[in-house]
């Protein structure tokens, strides 16, 4: 392969991977930004999304319905968890959140195993997305282009949501000064519940989109947790543009790093995190130091 086609293909690979990482990380960024919660269960919602997507797609025969319904359902489950349990813990410290979300991870993991079994499940793609295009004579899956497009659309949508809508304004305000927002008469609890639900829904969205690539399986959650935390930390906690940058950076490092230095594949992400935190302790675009 010549250099230019090679670079183009690899960049395309990297962007598609960045899209998946972005879906995973953006939900956690929002949750962390507003609520300062270390949500250990984020990976489990990602996994849940993949399995719900599988069932919906199988029952209705439509991948798109699965893509639409899965985040909604996961978001509802997340919101009810927040309202039922997490809400009581806001005066407590990090340890309480760690333990309750760890417990939730165990519960969800086992529930999924009971409901769907131990085998990996395949999420079939609609024929429109199952084809290939040729980048300089090299086949490239249409689905990955779809992922890149979906990532871009989601990034713009969230950006506009945060900048232009009233709810987005409330979210940004709550993350900066929750007391003040409360004093202004807004039900901060509702904002928090909504954000948590949205974060879980975004994770689930990521799960459905990842499923055709990796099959829906019980091991998804554990992998996803570390990835999502790394994205949040590198980007800067609570920074939405940061999570986008981090996703792209990590994806490129992984794709090119794995190609040129396959022996360091395991360690690449962590070395990157070390480097970023050494230079900018608050993450790329974070505020805290």
């Amino acid at each position: 392969m010549d250099l230019f086609p090679f670079l183009v293909t690899q960049c395309a690979n990297a962007f598609s991977q960045a899209a998946l990482l972005f879906f995973l990380g953006v939900g956690l960024t929002l949750i962390f930004g507003i609520m300062r919660i270390v949500n250990f269960a984020h990976g489990s919602f990602y996994m849940l999304g993949a399995f719900i997507g599988y069932t919906v797609a199988h029952v209705t025969g439509s991948f798109w319905l699965g893509l639409l319904l899965s985040p909604v359902l996961a978001g509802l489950i997340g919101t009810s968890f927040e309202m039922g349990l997490l809400r009581r813990l806001y005066r407590r410290d990090t340890s309480a959140f760690l333990m309750v979300t760890f417990g939730l991870t165990l519960v969800m993991g086992e529930a999924i195993r009971l409901l769907w079994g131990v085998q990996g499940l395949q999420l079939p793609l609609p024929s429109m997305l199952a084809g290939i295009v040729f980048l300089f004579d090299e086949p490239f899956p249409v689905y990955r282009l779809f992922l890149i497009a979906a990532g871009a659309v989601l990034a713009v949508a969230i950006w506009q949501f945060l900048e232009r809508t009233r709810l987005g304004l409330l979210i940004r305000a709550t993350s900066q000064n929750a007391e003040m927002v409360h004093a202004l008469g807004v039900d901060v609890n509702l904002v928090r519940s909504g954000i948590f639900g949205m974060g879980c829904g975004l994770a689930a969205f990521g799960g459905v989109l990842a499923a055709p690539l990796v099959t829906a399986s019980l091991g998804m959650a554990a992998n996803a947790i570390v990835d999502s935390f790394v994205i949040v930390i590198i980007g800067g906690m609570g920074s939405f543009p940061g999570s986008l940058c981090a996703a792209v950076l990590v994806a490129f490092v992984q794709v090119f790093g794995t190609y040129y230095f396959p022996d360091f594949a395991i360690a690449a992400m962590y070395l990157l995190m070390l480097l970023v935190l050494a230079i900018r302790p608050g993450g790329l675009l974070g505020q805290e130091a």
Binding site: F6, Q10, P141, Y143
Partner: protein, 403 residues
């Protein structure tokens, strides 16, 4: 006041300790005089699918045996425990079975790292371990202990079968992709040696860390190597992810995918991505011999699906164990060990000989091709080559071949 709180504290601690102790007291067999076989298995965690297969195989075998009056006139009972795929837990569970349940025979222990951690303790426990699926070559080489027996196919044997098939193929240049841990490297070494022996060009290999989700870089590497065939040493989620993605990149159209092992669970979970794959199979249910046909028929009557790869291998191990116990007339380790060495069994895979020098079961090797068949919901493994035991089984205590 101080005294009162001391006493009540002491009482609380004592009662908690009592509860803890009771849960560890020796348990006596529910059925008096039953033969207890311990099975530490991964029932949860990433390899839970394999654990479920092995459990089903043993339950099926126990049912058959007990229906005919049991072994040595005693019913067979399995003691099953979840190891989560974690070696520390596996050793703890195995030790509990030995110390608390009085178990003297172990099987199961699906993951090779669990097996490697357990095997050095067998002498101390005076317990025989009959492997159901452990493929790590070292278990019959450097890590061999007298109480370990392997009736199933090992990693090197699976690789050897595929490599023998390659000798007749026109493909000249080959590449490799393996999981970056012991099994992946071990099998790839064997493959590389076999390629050289067959006069093929081994263009190199690349290894992916366990848990890799995105194989795009590796697919690029495979393509760039210009190889006509790529040998895959992948399992579990990584295997499923790679196959799905390879299909999406239409890799199979340019490069023949070869694999060390592929089971029905993975075939079912990846849809059509496995069609055209050529690989080793430790047990393809489509084998055409009377013993296997009877087994498959009985299995389908019970479970409504054909037996999967690990189910067949575990079943064979149970059958070998049965033959050993019947020959020894006892389950004591010393007698059982002597009986198993040199034992010959006509099993679902043909004749298996448990050779004495390294306790490996000598048996045929199979190469399969995944094809679509009319009327079957999922693709099917079709046997395209069979190699006799003496060509597939490595020399004693070794993981590499001489010819």
């Amino acid at each position: 006041m101080a005294k009162g709180s001391d006493v009540s504290r002491r009482r609380l601690i004592q009662s908690t300790a009592a509860v803890a102790v009771v849960s560890t007291l020796p348990q006596y067999a529910r059925a008096a005089g039953s033969i207890k076989i311990g099975m530490p298995l991964p029932l949860t965690g990433p390899v839970a699918g394999v654990g479920a297969q092995m459990r089903r195989a043993c339950e099926f075998w126990a049912k058959q045996v007990n229906a005919k009056g049991g072994l040595l006139g005693r019913p067979v009972e399995f003691i099953i425990s979840d190891t989560e795929g974690n070696p520390a837990t596996a050793v703890r569970k195995a030790q509990e079975m030995v110390e608390r349940n009085g178990v003297r025979i172990l099987t199961g222990i699906a993951v090779s790292s669990e097996a490697l951690a357990t095997v050095p303790r067998l002498a101390e426990w005076d317990t025989i371990f009959v492997s159901g699926d452990n493929g790590d070559g070292r278990l019959t080489a450097e890590a061999l202990v007298p109480n370990f027996f392997r009736p199933n196919v090992s990693g090197p044997m699976g690789t050897r079968a595929v490599a023998l098939h390659l000798r007749d193929s026109p493909m000249k240049k080959l590449f490799g992709l393996g999981m970056d841990y012991a099994w992946g490297h071990n099998s790839m070494e064997v493959f590389e040696a076999e390629c050289k022996r067959a006069g093929k060009n081994f263009a190199g290999a690349v290894f992916s860390p366990t848990g890799t989700k995105d194989f795009s870089t590796y697919i690029t590497r495979i393509r760039q190597s210009g190889a006509e065939g790529v040998y895959l040493v992948l399992s579990g989620d990584d295997n499923a992810a790679f196959l799905s993605q390879a299909k999406q990149y239409r890799l199979g159209e340019k490069v023949q995918l070869l694999t060390e092992l592929i089971d029905q669970m993975t075939i079912n979970g990846t849809g059509d991505a496995t069609v055209g794959l050529i690989g080793g199979s430790r047990y393809p249910y489509t084998l055409d011999n009377p013993v296997n046909k009877a087994f498959v028929a009985a299995w389908q009557a019970e479970y409504r699906t054909p037996p999967d790869m690990f189910e067949g291998d575990q079943y064979q191990s149970c059958v070998v164990l049965q033959a050993g116990i019947e020959k020894a007339g006892s389950i004591e380790a010393a007698k059982l060990r002597a009986a198993l060495e040199g034992l010959e069994v006509d099993s679902i895979k043909g004749r298996v000989v448990m050779r004495a020098c390294d306790h490996q079961g000598e048996q045929q090797g199979f190469v399969i091709k995944i094809v679509k068949r009319e009327g079957m919901a999922h693709p099917v493994p079709e046997v395209i080559a069979t190699y006799p035991a003496d060509r597939v089984t490595p020399p004693c205590n070794k993981m590499v071949y001489d010819n």
